[in-house]
């Protein structure tokens, strides 16, 4: 550079800041447009030139989503399905991840590779047999009809994350637990899981988001209004003659909120560093 120190806003004019700004704008623009449009009236929605700030500001789209289109039911369904499936994935994922990371067992590698292959399976490939299976079980249009497949499909990835996380926890921690008289389950609960919290949060957020946004299975398995989840619910807004964009946008904004809150709360937890001080600095 020319060696001169830049002051004021001039110091922000360099390649890094410009690139960051462009990427930030490209990423945030659709979200901004979604939020802004959800507060527009149908007329303002189609205005030319487009309005970058809604005028007048209207909350009609929000009330319409909840009153006219049962969005509250979809929201409740999504919460039930995503929360239960995530909880199950974390319970089974922790147990399986711990076992694969620590216990001496044959066929560990094969198990891990199989899990990886399963997690890469496109859901379109399994949807037909899954539909038939669930129909035979009488699970179409039920919570468990989504919870069980969601758990199954998200488990492999969670096991991978948790296993890798647990591999990083010093073995001496468990040995100290054994010497201190803790049972294997107690060691897992009191020593390993608190240390694996970042891994648990990462797997949990990933799984919750996947369940929250899943469309294909939700559409195929639950087609009754009482069991529809948000993505399917929003997609069926309107009539063949009318697409209520404003309402769809409003519902989408509400749908983004839980995921946003989750990420904001757990962001600092996901950052590793919990293990500091356990062993030599």
């Amino acid at each position: 550079m020319n060696g001169r120190k830049r002051y004021g806003w001039h110091r922000f004019i360099n390649g890094t800041y410009i690139a960051t700004f462009v990427i930030a704008v490209l990423t945030a623009a659709p979200l901004y447009w979604l939020i802004v449009s959800s507060f527009k009236t149908p007329v303002a929605m189609g205005a030319s030139p487009p309005q970058f700030f809604p005028n007048p500001v209207s909350t009609a789209n929000y009330s319409q989503a909840f009153v006219q289109y049962d969005f509250g039911i979809y929201f409740r369904n999504s919460i039930i399905v995503a929360v239960v499936a995530t909880a199950l994935v974390l319970i089974f994922g922790t147990l399986a991840g711990y076992a694969l990371a620590r216990t001496p067992m044959r066929g560990k590698f094969t198990t891990m590779v199989t899990l990886l292959i399963i997690s890469l399976f496109p859901s379109i490939a399994v949807i037909a047999p899954l539909y038939l299976l669930l129909r035979n079980l009488g699970w179409l249009n039920s919570y468990q009809g989504l919870i069980v497949p969601y758990t199954a499909f998200n488990l492999p990835f969670a096991i991978w994350i948790l296993r890798n996380y647990m591999l990083g926890i010093p073995k001496e921690m468990e040995e100290a637990g054994r010497i201190d008289g803790a049972s294997p389950l107690r060691t897992l609960w009191s020593i390993i899981m608190p240390m694996a919290l970042p891994g648990l949060f990462t797997a949990g957020i990933f799984c919750f988001t996947a369940c929250w946004t899943e469309f294909l299975m939700a559409l195929t398995i639950n087609d009754v209004n009482n069991y529809k989840t948000i993505p399917v619910g929003i997609a069926t807004f309107g009539t063949p003659l009318e697409v209520p964009y404003g309402t769809i946008f409003a519902a989408s904004v509400v749908a983004v909120v839980p995921v946003g809150i989750l990420v904001l709360i757990f962001r600092k937890w996901v950052v590793s560093g919990l293990t500091s001080g356990a062993v030599k600095g």
């Binding site: 010093p170 100290a176 054994r178 001080g277 356990a278």
Partner: protein, 385 residues
Amino acid sequence: MAPVDMENLNKVYENGFRAVKDLSLDVADGEFMVLVGPSGCGKTTTLRMVAGLEDITSGDLLIGGKRVNDESPKQRDIAMVFQNYALYPHMTVRENMAFPLKMEKMPKDEINKKVNDASEILGLNDLLNNKPGQLSGGQRQRVAMGRAIVRQPTVFLMDEPLSNLDAKLRVQMRAEVHRIQRHLGVSTIYVTHDQVEAMTMGDRICVIRDGTVQQVDHPQTVYGNPVNIFVAGFIGSPSMNLYDATVGEGAKSLKLGSQEIDLPDTVLMRSPALRSYAGKDVTVGLRPENLPAEAPDKTGPRLVGDVSLVEALGSELQVHFTIDANRVLPEGAVGSDEAAAIGRGEGVAIVSPKTQVKAGEKLTFAVDIDDMQFFDRATGLAIRE
């Protein structure tokens, strides 16, 4: 408090590697036993077998006279301090120390009392609400000790607990650990590869090599009368100068390269077996401190060496010298890097700091013949009776 008896312990891993071979060792009630040896010699494996963290392939392990081979670590009533401390990072110091007591389902009041007592002994009172991440290395070490002593176990096991501390702190903690062990009087098995720790802390030390016990005795005895060439080379820093030599007629003299040293009768009285080595090759060992520098005209056994390096340590000078005899480096006792650094015929002498000597000069050393060690060239065993 209880004695620990190991009888013919063996550890064979699944891949066939035999880490511990027929190891027998008795640790008396309240004794501080140090297991010492080069890395990979099986000392940590032995400790882990006592702890119950490693299965015993064969042999018997008795704690307090009771066979505990198949008992869990918890049932053995032992406490262990790990090399990397293994403190629970999400728990405070108090919770860390209380954890083993909580596992025993002890009432809360009693737990608090015991934790307070232990933290008093270790000077941890002000740190009880801190988490391990907020502590210094020495403090973490103390907490690890605290977690061990709070249970008042029958045996302490320590796996190189001081190796992660810096040199100064290590000296302090060495004394501290020793003091606590004396105070509590609990039988202790302490693993280290640091022979200074072994020498200063142990009531007895057990030198291990390749999974077998070489010598078990008081530190000073092991230092002064090593049973074989491995122990001689391993214990002591700088290590013992070991040279090939030939015993003269009637075991009256010793030929070290081109130099000849007279052997007085006292040597034969101490090591009568040396008589049968007359005219044969042996290995002799001389501790660096048994080679004081002397004026060239003095009488008595002497050795002249070419000085290659002088290291001033304040209280003493370490003089590296060369003679024309073959230097012996016992396998395993000296690290390969160290072995590569020692030239043919090179030895070390510790002399008074007042000695005037420079590299490149010749220096005459008086040989403290009574402390000279003799080893059989073939078996490596000490030549004594």
